[in-house]
């Protein structure tokens, strides 16, 4: 295998810079995007905080998206230049040999084939990754635009395209990130460390193993499918204005995407129905009225000093309560029985009490009650006193005397 043919450079400096920007924007997009998709995961929450909150995460995501979109425009121009102006062989184009190489490779791994496949400048694995990136990138750009500008999108498309775009954006993101981790990392970092994106070159051994077909071609004196470099000047004259227009449209479109729409107001929404906070209701709502009154006879006498209702209203009292009141404690009387109007003036009552006395009622008090010793009835009217009260009066408290005797 020794020969004087040098190992060709795989990637030029601009290509390596392009790859670097792509790797950076892809990483930032993937990171800021996935933490949004799985935002409530504890790790995501920490990363979002680290990036300065969800709003800042979105800003970073969109900034990286602009870089990614600009790179896409640039890449299409470069590819178009190579195809239309330099008329290079489209070495990235998939062909039937890639399928055969893939199957051959699996067969070799399973020890069904003796030798590994001899592959061209871009192996089936690399082509798969490139076209997945192109396909995925376009989906991300389109759906990303829709999510960035839902109002513009729904001018033309039904509303459900927005949540559908969100679903596709998220699904494609997971797919892309996993593919990079599984496919890209294995093929260029794990399997063997491929330095061609850093130095532009790989070792002869790696080159022979990975790109056997290209190596054979180089040995046979074949250059990189380069046509004679004549005539490119005329094609350039056409290409350059076209490329400028395309670049202007592309960057203009990106600028438009970023600025066309103010999706939402930046202030707080006005309350849907503003009601005055303090507005005393007149009349007050019903349940705060006093507890319901029960229609029970009013108490026709002052209550002060006569709280022992059953002294008079007990079963053996002067004015017993109805039988359905049996067992009701004295504390409960005034729940229903409210104080009535104030006692009537004394004069008519005195006359009345004289009449009542005649009819066998309580005796009239024949002396003033507001001068000593008459202020306390018990001074004279207790048992064994000067003028004992009748026996059936024995339980009556002294405060209750004037309820009947006037």
């Amino acid at each position: 295998m020794q020969s004087g043919v040098p190992v060709p450079r795989r990637f030029t400096v601009p290509q390596r810079i392009e790859h670097g920007i792509l790797a950076l924007s892809f990483t930032v997009l993937g990171l800021t995007g996935l933490v949004q998709k799985f935002a409530l995961n504890p790790l995501s929450e920490r990363l979002i905080s680290l990036m300065g909150g969800i709003e800042m995460t979105r800003v970073i995501h969109r900034a990286a998206a602009i870089a990614f979109a600009l790179l896409t425009v640039y890449h299409f121009i470069v590819v178009a230049y190579k195809f239309f102006v330099r008329r290079l062989e489209m070495t990235m184009m998939p062909c039937l040999k890639d399928v055969k190489d893939g199957l051959h490779s699996v067969g070799y791994s399973l020890f069904l084939r003796k030798n590994p496949p001899k592959m061209p400048r871009y192996t089936f694995a690399e082509k798969l990754e490139y076209w997945a990136l192109i396909w995925g990138g376009l989906i991300m750009l389109v759906t990303g635009f829709m999510l960035w500008n839902p109002l513009v999108t729904t001018l033309l498309l039904p509303g459900q395209f927005i949540p559908a775009a969100k679903a596709a954006h998220g699904g494609e993101a997971v797919l892309a990130v996993l593919a990079i981790i599984v496919w890209h990392f294995y093929n260029v970092h794990l399997k063997m460390f491929n330095t061609s994106m850093f130095t532009g070159r790989m070792t002869r051994h790696q080159f022979e193993e990975e790109h056997g077909a290209e190596w054979d071609g180089l040995l046979a004196g074949k250059t990189q499918g380069l046509h004679a470099p004549v005539n490119t000047r005329r094609r350039q004259l056409v290409f350059v204005p076209a490329a400028v227009v395309f670049a202007a449209l592309g960057t203009g479109g990106i600028y438009w995407t970023a600025t066309v729409e103010t999706t939402a107001i930046s202030t707080l929404p006005a309350p849907s129905s503003e009601a005055k906070v303090y507005s005393p209701a007149v009349p007050a709502p019903q349940t705060m009225t006093q507890p319901a009154t029960v229609s029970a006879p009013l108490i026709p006498h002052p209550i002060a000093g006569q709280e022992q209702c059953y002294a008079c209203h007990g079963k053996s009292g002067m004015k017993p309560v109805p039988s359905n009141h049996d067992g009701r404690p004295v504390e409960s009387c005034r729940i229903c029985h409210r104080p009535g109007p104030p006692p009537k003036p004394k004069e008519p009552a005195a006359e009345k009490s004289a009449e009542r006395e005649k009819a066998g009622g309580p005796k009239k008090i024949p002396h003033p009650t507001d001068k000593a010793p008459y202020t306390n009835c018990a001074n004279c009217h207790g048992i064994g006193k000067m003028k004992p009260s009748p026996e059936n009066h024995s339980g009556y408290p002294v405060e209750s005397c004037t309820a009947c005797h006037q």
């Binding site: 699996v106 593919a179 599984v182 202020t375």
Partner: protein
């Protein structure tokens, strides 16, 4: 006792303003050295029409409705348990210059027994408003009443009607809302009354950012309760689906990390309304299809006719509802495992074969 009664009757007859202005010649505290008992209090304070006037000529009724006091939760308490400053007759001079001041001063008595609630109340909106000089701000007795203190939640709608005394306009909205109607019509124990969202004693200020950002959690207390929502055929996933979407996610993250930051992303009430919330199927609901564009435009003023459809609602997409979203999800649910699985398989076979070949080579 007779002496006291005689004097108090004398006072009643000759001095209607019996507390505020004591007649000259009666030195306070001389008439009765003993503490007043309930029966002594009611002796005077059941007299109909008994009242006094404040310096600004507002009338303070002094007649106590013993019936409602006895049937209140404090029915077995002594008058002096609350009227702690009044131990003797004649009473200490009333220093309040108007009715409101009298109420504000007297409501402080509640704290003696209800220390926990009083402590909570210090963090309330009412306490803050009062401290800021708003004398209309509610104190204990404004909500609970004074002598006729009942259980505040019996019947349950008593809570909301209590609030409605001062918050009449909001109350009017509430009783016409889905919640309020159900409360008043069938005394539904499941619908929220004011204090379920605002708390009874330590209400948060409802117009702060923190309250706004935390408000979906208040709704979720009931609306994420599977059992409770099952009774009414309401989806219990409304909160989860909200949090999973743009609005809810933003609000949730801000609520967790920066609750005080001003963020205008929609919370439940921005779309559904607050006190006037209606069933989502009600013709007057802000979120029913006919009204949705108007509702969206409150935050998205340039929203187009198609725009409201971009809100999938609180339901996972199905073949019939939002089929495009459904099929995109299905597509990726298959594409991702098939692609990544295929890649993994290839990688594993390749890696295995390389290891085996290297081992063989080393042995050779």
């Amino acid at each position: 006792m007779i002496l006291i009664r005689t004097i108090s009757r004398f006072l009643l007859e000759f001095c209607v303003v019996c507390i505020a202005v004591l007649p000259a010649g009666i030195a306070p505290g001389t008439a009765c050295a003993a503490e007043l008992s309930n029966s002594a209090c009611v002796g005077c304070h059941t007299t109909p029409g008994l009242s006094t006037r404040f310096p600004n000529s507002e009338k303070l009724p002094l007649t106590v409705d013993i019936g409602s006091l006895r049937s209140s939760v404090h029915g077995l308490q002594n008058c002096t348990a609350c009227h702690a400053g009044i131990r003797k007759f004649p009473h200490p001079k009333n220093t309040a210059v108007n009715y409101r001041q009298f109420q504000l001063e007297n409501s402080k008595q509640c704290e003696a027994c209800h220390a926990e609630q009083a402590k909570q109340e210090l963090e309330s909106n009412h306490a803050r408003a009062l401290a800021a000089g708003n004398r209309n701000a509610a104190v204990c007795t404004d909500c609970h009443g004074n002598h006729a203190v009942g259980k505040p939640d019996v019947p349950r709608h008593r809570i909301s009607t209590s609030c409605g005394k001062c918050h009449g306009a909001i109350y009017a909205q509430y009783i016409n809302s889905a919640h309020g109607r159900s409360l008043l019509e069938i005394d539904n124990p499941d619908v929220p009354v004011c204090s379920d969202c605002h708390e009874a004693h330590k209400q948060e200020a409802p117009k702060t950012q923190a309250f706004r950002l935390g408000s979906p959690k208040i709704c979720a207390k009931c609306h994420a309760n599977r059992k409770l929502m099952g009774k009414y055929g309401i989806s219990p996933d409304v909160f989860n689906t909200y949090v999973a979407d743009f609005h809810g996610l933003t609000v949730t993250l801000f609520d967790k990390k920066h609750p005080d930051q001003r963020i205008n992303t929609a919370v439940c009430t921005d779309c559904h309304g607050i006190h006037d919330i209606q069933k989502a199927t009600d013709a007057s609901s802000t979120v029913i299809k006919q009204n949705l564009l108007t509702t969206c435009r409150r935050c998205h003023p340039e929203a187009t006719l198609n725009f409201p459809d971009s809100w999938v609602g609180h339901f996972p997409p199905t073949k019939d509802r939002y089929p495009l979203v459904y099929w995109v999800n299905v597509f990726y649910r298959f594409l991702i495992p098939v692609t990544i699985g295929g890649m993994l398989l290839f990688v594993l076979i390749d890696a295995g074969s390389r290891i085996i070949r290297r081992l063989r080579k080393g042995r050779a």
